[in-house]
Amino acid sequence: MLTLGRLILAVILGLASPAAAGGPSGGQLIIVPNTLNFRVGPPPMVAHAEISVQVLIPGQVPWRLTIMALGPLRSTDGSEIPASQVIWKGSPGPLFVNGTLSANQPQLLGKGQGSKAGVVRFFLKNRWDLAEGQYNQRLLFNLSSP
């Protein structure tokens, strides 16, 4: 029974955990949630999803945050949605900027100094020629500081 309880707790913690990573010099990037879910209905409805971004860096050290898709969104039957069909709006500006997702090409999402937090809203352009299906891909956020 105790084992089952621990197992359930572990699953709950796993679902709630943010995408986070620490750097070798103490910088940390926390993104919540760790999955973007788009529900795409008939156009002109626009599918959107939101994440919060937290950059934790000691002092006033400058930083730069980029985002990159690891390829187009792919469905199980082989259909694709180009990464460029996803745009985002970052806030607060000018700390976090707006942009268009690119596959295998990092795009600037924000830059600043010291610890900051923001929100990024992603929008998937909706078109009638999208094939029905369940699509997946991964986004890589990269925080760097000199």
Binding site: L36, F38, P43, L124, D129, N136, R138, F141, L143, S145
Partner: protein
Amino acid sequence: MKVKSILLMVLALSLVGAGAAWGVQATADVKVAATVSSSAKLTLATSSITFPDADPDTVKSIPANENGALVTAKVKTGSSTPATLKILAADDLKSGSDTIPIANVTSTATNTSGSFFSAGPVAWSKTSPGATVGQGKSGSYTGTFSWFLVNDWNYATGSYTASATYTLLVP
């Protein structure tokens, strides 16, 4: 000469490495999931069509007054499951006890945007699921419909009516 080339390359790599040196480096991996649901929209510029009286000797096929009606079909469907547009008549054309077979009505189509509508002529049917007048993958399509009635001296005089339904199906 070969040794010199190798040395130059090593120096270049060293410079690139120095430029990319950052004190803090952190990455985060986020999954993207998109669920695209199937959907369909169909619009037809007219909800009724009328065939005027005509002399069978001179007009073998009577065009409807509404010919060239604009039709729009918008569909989202799976990549291997094309959407279909069907026309199903409830019954034959009837005037009292007199009938004209519904298969004597045909339709043709032109595609003005994309390629979805069948050029035809397609004979109407009262047998489910009806006659197919369009088929295609996800997309937004526009075209025009025209309808024709086979003219025949054997038709009894009268005013005939029938109803039919266009259905855009996404599997």
